[in-house]
């Protein structure tokens, strides 16, 4: 177990190194930071002096090593716009995004398993065909369009749910304020969560359906039938567990992807998370914040994937984490 963990951590570090390199390389190509800092009225002499002070004249390698050294100490640079550490800016926005992703994940898990299983068991039923048809529609429509349509229907026409912001939020710990403790908070998170889930949910329904149909063809399912086991037990004990193994792997990657998808959802719903923040940072050419965002999202990606691999090992008895390593 320990050897496996160490191995995974080393892999994670390697991935983070590459991400940081790419993120840092982008920095040099996003315009002149001095223009953002000092504006038009400063003389060329002063500019050169500032460049020297900021280390912008050093070689790429020197600059990267300085950046990486600072990053390891938790310093990802200072946002030009907010005039405070970029990591702090992101951490303040992070809980809103994570809650949104969490809400979408709940919807995806809660719906994809029953829908996927049903369409696999009854592939020819009318309802299955409707679900599969809708899933194609869901995959095809971009998130921002789904979001705008939902705002139009549920906020503008029906007036059931609010269309923007987080509503009443309750502080929990540190920067973390939650939507899940007030009715108003719940009302505000519903539409953005559905919008965010709208792409992934059909994908997961189709994935679970395809896996399940394959598992139902397997010899051990036929054998279970030959033993006289009840259908529900065959579906949910024999087949579902085998179905979910590959789904877990894909799911881990998709949760990471969803963090990135929040950029669209948060923008449409004016959700004060880091996706919305990222878009603003791009508009303001707030380079340190953009770089910090890329690194934080990369980090979340790496962490979720590592956790998912560990869970996979726990669920699948043929993978023995305790004995894995080297």
């Amino acid at each position: 177990m320990f050897a496996y963990l160490v191995k995974r951590v080393f892999q994670a570090i390697a991935v983070m190194f590459v991400i940081s390199l790419i993120a840092f390389a982008i920095q040099g190509n996003l315009g002149d930071p001095l223009r953002e800092l000092v504006g038009q009225s400063v003389s060329e002499e002063v500019r050169q002096q500032l460049r020297e002070e900021l280390g912008l004249n050093d070689s790429f390698l020197q600059q990267y090593l300085r950046f990486a050294g600072n990053a390891l100490q938790g310093d990802l640079g200072t946002s030009y716009f907010f005039k405070e550490p970029a990591l702090d800016v992101i951490l303040k926005k992070l809980p809103a995004t994570l809650e949104l992703v969490f809400g979408a994940t709940l919807i995806i898990i809660g719906l994809s398993v029953p829908l996927g299983v049903y369409t696999a068991i009854k592939p020819n039923a009318l309802l299955s065909k409707i679900i599969m048809g809708l899933s194609i529609v869901g995959i095809s429509i971009p998130v921002f369009l789904t979001a705008i349509l939902m705002i139009f229907v549920f906020s503008v026409e029906l007036g059931w749910l609010p269309s923007f912001g987080r509503g009443d939020i309750v502080p929990v710990w540190g920067y973390w304020e939650t939507n899940f403790l007030t009715a108003d908070g719940w009302a505000h998170i519903i539409l953005p969560s559905i919008a965010l889930a709208s792409i992934m949910l059909p994908l997961f329904v189709r994935l679970i359906r395809a896996e399940m149909m394959e598992v139902l063809q397997s010899e051990y399912v036929r054998y279970a039938t030959a033993k006289g086991i009840r259908p529900w037990r065959i579906y949910f004990v024999h087949a579902l567990k085998n179905t979910l193994l590959p789904v877990i792997t894909v799911g881990g990657v998709q949760i990471g992807t969803m963090v990135a998808y929040t950029i669209l959802t948060e923008t449409v719903f004016q959700w004060p998370g880091m996706g919305f923040m990222f878009l603003e940072a791009v508009n303001r050419v707030d380079t340190p914040l953009i770089v910090a965002y890329l690194i934080v999202v990369g980090f979340i990606f790496v962490v979720t994937n590592t956790i998912v691999d560990l869970i996979y090992g726990l669920v699948n008895p043929t993978v023995n984490i305790a004995r894995m390593g080297a």
């Binding site: 051990y220 054998y223 033993k227 006289g228 009840r230 567990k241 085998n242 669920v315 008895p317």
Partner: protein, 331 residues
């Protein structure tokens, strides 16, 4: 009354562009505690017969017509619920490949306990105790520990023993074993067969053994059916079929055994291949491969008739008897 009575069983497969007949009106009986072998080449319909007996055919196969009377009740007409109470309980099945038969994510214990609890009102602990007893019967060492293990932790031979133990869990009247040793090492095959024979005899369980191995059939069974292209072409006591086969196909099968050829000589084989289900020739399905085929064989399907100690479906069976010189000619 016989335990199992199959009458005119016809199984078809609905393919995209046509419907093919996999089993063509087969009939046979099995007495209580009797051991029956079904032999034939791949594609003869042996396994389909086995699965049909449990009404376990999966699409696109289906039972088109006929009766399968098990203990007086027709399996073909049974409701799903009635079928469930028969499957694994009064009629158990041993599958071909033990590596893929057990569910990889459930422990041996879970898979045994669920079988018992599907048919009897038992607590988990009671079911475990029965499972341990049955594992001992199939000579599994330290059965308590095996219950906690997953299939991948056990060898193929061990898994097949466990599958035999599962088949015996509810003291069935009939076990259908579909090539139970094909996927195993040769050294283990004999052990498994011996174990099955011993258990069937001591528990008075009927056995239908599906195999292509005539040697196994001669050791294990009292009666034998020979199948070809979805039909039974010869049946009778195993002794008669092995020692005095009547159908040219059965003769060919026995001559093809390596034991029938002197060392250093080329193995004898039946020329050609079994026809695919979509291309069964008219008349006797074996006629293109048969050296005795006549025009009658090429146009009329032979009926089953009693000949000597066996029932055989062959137009030329009388002529074969008067031309016993065949063996010498070839040698």
């Amino acid at each position: 009354m016989s335990l199992l009575s199959v009458r005119d069983l016809t199984v078809k497969f609905a393919m995209r562009d046509q419907t093919v007949t996999a089993l063509n009106s087969i009939s046979f009986d099995l007495a209580k505690g009797e051991r029956l072998g079904i032999v034939g080449e791949s594609g003869a319909g042996k396994s389909i017969t086995g699965f049909s007996l449990m009404n376990l055919l999966s699409r696109p196969g289906y039972i088109d017509s006929g009766q399968i009377l098990f203990d007086g009740q027709d399996v073909v007409q049974m409701s799903e619920k009635a079928l469930r109470s028969v499957r694994g309980n009064r009629m158990a099945m041993i599958f071909q490949d033990p590596m893929v038969t057990l569910n990889p994510v459930l422990t041996i214990g879970q898979q045994m306990v669920e079988t018992l609890r599907a048919h009897r009102k038992l607590s988990v602990e009671e079911a475990r105790q029965i499972a341990i007893v049955k594992l001992r019967e199939v000579y599994i060492p330290s059965p308590e520990e095996r219950l906690e293990q997953y299939p991948h932790e056990l060898s193929g031979g061990m898994r097949q023993r466990i599958i035999i133990a599962i088949a015996l869990l509810l003291d069935p009247q009939l076990i259908i074993a579909d090539e139970p040793t094909t996927a195993l090492d040769v050294t283990i095959q004999a052990d498994i067969m011996e174990l099955m024979l011993e258990l069937c005899q001591s528990n008075q369980v009927g056995l239908i053994l599906i195999t292509h191995d005539l040697g196994v059939v001669s050791q294990m069974t009292e009666r034998t059916l020979v199948m070809y292209a979805g039909r039974i072409i010869e049946s009778g006591s195993t002794r008669s079929i092995i020692n005095d086969p009547q159908h040219p196909y059965t003769q060919g099968l026995i001559n093809a055994l390596p034991q029938q050829t002197l060392p250093g000589h080329q193995l004898r084989q039946i020329p050609g291949n079994m026809p695919t289900l979509a291309q069964v020739p008219p008349g006797c399905a074996f006629n293109p491969r048969c050296e005795f085929a006549t025009d009658t064989c090429r146009s009329q399907i032979p009926k089953i008739s009693q000949y000597g100690d066996v029932e055989v479906a062959c137009h030329e069976v009388h002529r074969l008897q008067t031309e016993p010189a065949r063996e010498e000619e070839q040698a």
